[in-house]
C-alpha cells in the first residue's frame, strides 16, 4: 500500500545537461577523493569493484536515518508514510532511468547477484526442465555462471557457453548456433567486468527472441557507463547493483517484464510479499512486492534514487563521452609500456583496462601501485573462465568512473614504471 498525499520529490532526468562536462567540478562532489594514501593523493581506479559515492547519496542516506527512519508499506503513522513515499519515489526514478514501462517492473534486491539468483530460482524452477538448456557466454562474471549451474544441476538441465574470440568479443555466429528449441533462457553480461567488452545486447536479444527465448542482461558494469533503455533493448530481465553506480552497497535492481514477473512464483517468503496468510493458504502480494519479502534496504533504495538523480544531473551521455575519451587515452598510454599486454581489445569497450606485464605477477604489481596511492584490482576478477581463456592466472585491472582524470592515468603509467623498477 502506497500512501498518497505527500509531495513527490521525483526529479526527472535532464535530457541535456546544462553545462559541459567538467571533471574537476565532478570530483568536488566526491569527498573521498581528497584522501591521501601513504602520503600520496588517492588514485582510485577500482571502480568496477565499487564506485565512490557523491555527497548527494551520502546526504540521502543520512537524511533517511536522521529524519525519516521508519518501516515502509506498513505504518499508518507520518514517518512511515514519509519513508514509503521516498522509497517508492526511488523506484520511480529507477524506472524512468531504465526506460521501463511501469514502476512495478522494478524489484529492489541486494545487488546484481541477487537479481540473477532471483531469476534462476523463480523463473528457472518454473520453466526449466530436464534436458533444457541455459545459454551464457564465456566472458561472464561468476554471478552470471554459478546461479545457472546450480539451477541446471537441480533440474537436470544443461549450461551452454558461447565462445569469445582473442579480442574478448562474443562470436555471434557460434552464439546463434547454440540457440535451439531446448534453450529456455539466455543470460549475458552487457559489459564484461574483466575485459571491458560491450556486448551487442540489442542484437543478441533479437537473435534469442527469434527463437522465442527470453534474455536476462547482467548490467552491473554497463549502467554506470552507458545509457540503457530496457524497452528499446527489449530485454526480458535486466540486473544491476547500486554500489557500482555511485549508490550504496547492499541494494540493486532487477527489472523484469510484467508478463514474466506475473507468472513467476515468489523468490523468498515473508512479510510484505503477501496479501493474506492463513495456515492453509497464502495469497501473494502484487508486483513488485511479491518479490520483496521482508523489510527492504530502505535507506539503500533511497540512496540509489539519489545516485540516479546525480548521474542524471551530470548527464549519462556526457559521462559516456568523457569516459570513452579517457579510456582511449589510458589504452594508448599503457600500451607504450614495454612488456605490457592488454587483455581484452574489443572494438566496443567501456570502463576497464585489464593487463599483464611480462614476468611480473598482478599481486606484486598491485602491492607496489598501492604504495603509490593507486587502487587497482589484481586477481581473476570473479571471472576465472575468462582468465583461463586468455591463458593467464590473473590480470591487473584499472577501471574508470566519471571522476577519473588523464592525470590519474599518467600516475598509473608512472606507477607501472615504478613497479618495473622495483621488481627489475
Amino acid at each position: 500500500m502506497i500512501p498518497s498525499g505527500t509531495t513527490s520529490q521525483v526529479r526527472m532526468p535532464a535530457s541535456e545537461p546544462l553545462s559541459a562536462f567538467n571533471v574537476w567540478r565532478v570530483r568536488e562532489d566526491f569527498p573521498i577523493l581528497k584522501t591521501q594514501v601513504y602520503g600520496k593523493p588517492l588514485v582510485y581506479l577500482d571502480n568496477a569493484a565499487t564506485s565512490q559515492k557523491p555527497q548527494g547519496v551520502l546526504d540521502a542516506l543520512n537524511r533517511f536515518y536522521a529524519q525519516e527512519c521508519a518501516n515502509v508499506h506498513r505504518g499508518l503513522h507520518w514517518l512511515s508514510e514519509l519513508a514509503t513515499q521516498d522509497y517508492e519515489d526511488a523506484r520511480v526514478k529507477v524506472q524512468r532511468f531504465l526506460g521501463a514501462a511501469e514502476a512495478r517492473e522494478i524489484i529492489f534486491v541486494r545487488g546484481a547477484t541477487e537479481a540473477i539468483n532471483l531469476v534462476a530460482h523463480s523463473y528457472g524452477r518454473k520453466y526449466v526442465q530436464a534436458g533444457d538448456e541455459i545459454l551464457i557466454t564465456a566472458m561472464e562474471h561468476h554471478s552470471n555462471i554459478v546461479p545457472w549451474q546450480i539451477l541446471c544441476q537441480e533440474q537436470g538441465a544443461r549450461l551452454r557457453v558461447a565462445p569469445i574470440n582473442d579480442a574478448g568479443e562474443l562470436i555471434l555466429e557460434e552464439f546463434q548456433k547454440l540457440l535451439n528449441s531446448r534453450t529456455r533462457l539466455v543470460a549475458v553480461g552487457h559489459v564484461s567486468n574483466a575485459l571491458g567488452t560491450v556486448n551487442p545486447v540489442r542484437q543478441i536479444i533479437q537473435m534469442a527472441h527469434n527463437h522465442n527465448i527470453p534474455v536476462l542482461v547482467d548490467g552491473a558494469q554497463a549502467v554506470p557507463h552507458l545509457k540503457v533503455n530496457v524497452q528499446e533493448l527489449d530485454c526480458d530481465f535486466y540486473a544491476f547493483s547500486g554500489h557500482k553506480f555511485y549508490g550504496p552497497t547492499g541494494v540493486g535492481v532487477l527489472y523484469g517484464k510484467v508478463r514474466w514477473l506475473e507468472e513467476m512464483p515468489p523468490y523468498q517468503g515473508g512479510g510484505d510479499m503477501i496479501s493474506a496468510v492463513t495456515f492453509e493458504k497464502t495469497t501473494y502480494n502484487s508486483l513488485p512486492y511479491k518479490f520483496e519479502a521482508g523489510t527492504p534496504h530502505i535507506a539503500g533504495g533511497i540512496g540509489l534514487g539519489a545516485a540516479v538523480d546525480y548521474v542524471s544531473e551530470v548527464g549519462l551521455n556526457q559521462i559516456a563521452a568523457y569516459e570513452h575519451e579517457l579510456l582511449a587515452y589510458a589504452a594508448r598510454q599503457v600500451s607504450r609500456i614495454p612488456g605490457l599486454r592488454i587483455i581484452g581489445t574489443a572494438r566496443e569497450k567501456a570502463g576497464v583496462i585489464s593487463f599483464v606485464l611480462e614476468g611480473l605477477h598482478p599481486h606484486d604489481i598491485g602491492t607496489i601501485l598501492d604504495r603509490e596511492g593507486i587502487a587497482v584490482r589484481a586477481g581473476h576478477h570473479c571471472a576465472m573462465p575468462v582468465m583461463e581463456r586468455f591463458g593467464v592466472p590473473a590480470t591487473t585491472r584499472a577501471s574508470f568512473a566519471c571522476y577519473n582524470t588523464q592525470e590519474e592515468v599518467d600516475a598509473l603509467v608512472a606507477g607501472i614504471q615504478k613497479v618495473q623498477e622495483v621488481l627489475a
Binding site: 611480473l360 605477477h361 598482478p362 599481486h363 606484486d364 607496489i368 604504495r371 581473476h380 621488481l423
Partner: protein, 149 residues
C-alpha cells in the same frame, strides 16, 4: 619505498624469477596442491621422505614473486631436514610473518629471514605461507589445501 625495498629484497626477486628446485619430482612419495582462490596462486609441492628425513623436495606452479620465492627458499632450507625440524621451521616462519620472532629463532631461519618485510603487508602474508601450508599438507597426507582470505 623503504617498505617496498624491505619486501622485495634482492634474494626474493632472484628466487622469484629463478626459482630453485622447480619442476615435478619423479617418484615423490608425498605431494599436495595448494591454491589461493583470491589471487589464483597455485602450487604443487612434491616430497620424498625416507627414514624420517626429507630426502628431496620440489615444487611447481604459478604465483607472485613472494609465493614463488617463498617456495624456492623453502625447498632449499628443508631438504635434508627431519620431519620434526621441518615442522619447527613451519612454525618459526609463521612467527616471522606475524612479527613475533626472537633473535635465536631468526638465526635458525637463516635466509628465510628475508621474508620479515612481509609483515608490513598483511594481505601478502598468505602469499608467503601458501607453499609452507602445502608442504605441511603433503607431509600429513592431505592432498589439497585451500588458503582462504
Amino acid at each position: 619505498m623503504p617498505e617496498l625495498r624491505e619486501l622485495y629484497q634482492e634474494l626474493i626477486l632472484d628466487h622469484g624469477k629463478r626459482p630453485r628446485n622447480f619442476g615435478k619430482l619423479e617418484g615423490a612419495n608425498c605431494q599436495a596442491n595448494g591454491y589461493n582462490p583470491l589471487c589464483g596462486d597455485k602450487i604443487t609441492v612434491y616430497v620424498n621422505v625416507d627414514d624420517n628425513i626429507i630426502q628431496d623436495l620440489r615444487f611447481e606452479g604459478v604465483g607472485c614473486a613472494i609465493s614463488t620465492a617463498s617456495a624456492s627458499l623453502m625447498t632449499e632450507k628443508c631438504k635434508g631436514k627431519s620431519l620434526q625440524e621441518a615442522e619447527t621451521l613451519f612454525h618459526l616462519f609463521h612467527e616471522l610473518l606475524t612479527g613475533e620472532v626472537g633473535e635465536e629463532s631468526a638465526a635458525e631461519l637463516g635466509k628465510l629471514s628475508v621474508f620479515s618485510g612481509v609483515k608490513e603487508f598483511p594481505v601478502r602474508v598468505k602469499c608467503a605461507t601458501l607453499p609452507w601450508h602445502t608442504f605441511r599438507s603433503a607431509l600429513q597426507g592431505i592432498g589439497e589445501v585451500v588458503i582462504k582470505e
